[in-house]
Amino acid sequence: MDREDIFDGVTDVRDDLIQGAKEAPAKKKRWAKRRWMGAVAAVLAVAVLGGVLLRPGGGMTALAIAQAEYPEMAPYPDEGKFWPPGGDRDEEGFHAAYDAWREDVVAQRRDLGDVTPLQEFFAKSSWTFLTGKPGENRVYSPLNVYMALSMTAQLTDGESRGQILELLGSETMDALRQQANDLWNANYRDDGALTSVLASSLWLNEDVKFNQNTMDTLAKDFYASSYRGEMGSKALNDALQNWLNEQTGGLLKEQAGNIELDSETIMALATTVYFKAKWRSEFNEERTEKAVFHGPAGDVETDFMHQSDEQNYYWGGKFAAVSQGFEEGGAMWFLLPDEGVSPEELLSDGEAMDFLFTADKEEWEEQKFLIVNKAVPKFDVSSQFDLGEGLRELGVTDVFDPEKSDFSPMTAGGAGGIVLSRADHAARVVIDEEGCTAAAFTVMAYAGAAKPPDEEVDFVLDRPFLFCITGISGLPLFVGVVNSPAGN
């Protein structure tokens, strides 16, 4: 027998096999049927500027003064429309719609250049914001805080701006603006199949004479809309909360409800990330079983999802790691500290942080391609905290100090005494197996007669661990510590 015989043999495989491979570009088909997302995550950050105003407000509700325009994206083609059950397939129509979608997706790609300074910021800030609360769940969005800080830099000048530029690793405001714009675009997707939007808005006190140019720059380069109205009024608080809920898919309703601005507020900067994606290969619901998670507060029984697949398995001096990919790119990384090592310790470990924030994991030396038997607890973790203290630790101090802060680009005169009075950061990440379609698509690699690889490994997340969600740009949208899968 030779290779031509194999070619002929493949030619004559059964019709249903050939048709099956033709009809189901599996991922396209699945979007049409999907009922649940593999992972959904949201974060909101609200930075509040306070100060002293000369007179109370006069009853205006939120009025838009600069509106961001998001890029238009062709929707992901709905297969049901082109391939109606029982009807003729409109392949041409489908391909035209698919090409239009693809073109828009490609148009969003950006060359991010050297991201080393960014990775340093991600690692440093993750350590700052994720440690210090041992035993609790904690979720932090490095990209979200990056966007909030970039906009704060645009609103400030002098040393207030200089401290932010230094933390974010940018030499000039122009460079930072360009980078923020690239990052925004590289992470933007809203096509009906995947939602990934870094949304921002500014809420200004109607008594502040704002600088329209600055607001226009924020709309154009940072895709942030600006509104003004009466601070402390129910109308404005409602408008802000509605905006937050809308941007975060209602996932942070409880946390958004806590965000209220009082009449002293001069401006609030709200930034959100909403990310909803489906696993590339779902967990089979039938394989989900109760098992014990050894949390810091004691053992708890929780649902563990199981999957066996061939994939890269990574390790370092104190951890092991695997990823679970999303349909449209990006992945969730799970870092399991070695026995006796806490997630906190891992966050202080240079090697682990290098691993977590390196976009190109192919370069990692300690990796092996083998069968990984994953056991991942279903979890729903959230946290809400004030970024203020952490930002000060990271060297951003002047914006908090009425004697030193410089918010002159924001206002058209009279900017003295404006300070950042609060910076709320709330985030939630929920993961689950796929619902009803799971059984058909679960990967049990080589369940048939083919020869398995020589080695396999169990990867059981049954003790506190770290996770990181990288978005379509490969950069971290969310980083978190899970101490209790069911929430604090």
Binding site: M1, I6, G9, T11, D12, V13, G20, K22, G448, A450
Partner: protein
Amino acid sequence: MDDLAIVELYHRRSERAIAESDKKYGPLCRSIALRLLGVREDAEECVNDTWHAAWNKMPPDRPRALGAFLGRITRNLSISRWRRDHAQKRYEGMEVLLSELEDCVPAPDSVEEAVGRAQLSAAISAWLDGLTEEDRRLFLRRYWYGDGVKELAEAAGMGANALAQRLLRLRRGLRAFLETEGVF
């Protein structure tokens, strides 16, 4: 037009059968031929020959899956063309595909009797049945439809290297299966 109606046209010797086949399955056959041969003119000839062959096969054939039936003819015509001309012409797609399929060839064993094409296909079908849906699709997209590794990787949302590695494991898996089953 649905497949049964097209097949019926062949049986009635209506030349419209060819126009309808081209309309419905022309893109599929053209893409297979072009991927295998890489030369547009030759691929086009191959597709025209496909309709001619289909005309000669129906009747008596009454294929249930017309797309697979026609695509299969295109594959057969493509490899025939390669066998005939590859000394003079370079059909790159076919060369690459065949060199990959070399990995699936079981180690020779003189004791066993060589199997026929039908038996081999049945064995490969059985092996495909045992794969996960995703692996089965990847294998067939690559080795039946001739999809490029890059486009396949993009569609599957994975890196080209990861896909190449996966395909390699699948090919070795097929060889191991054929050896275990005594198909030489």
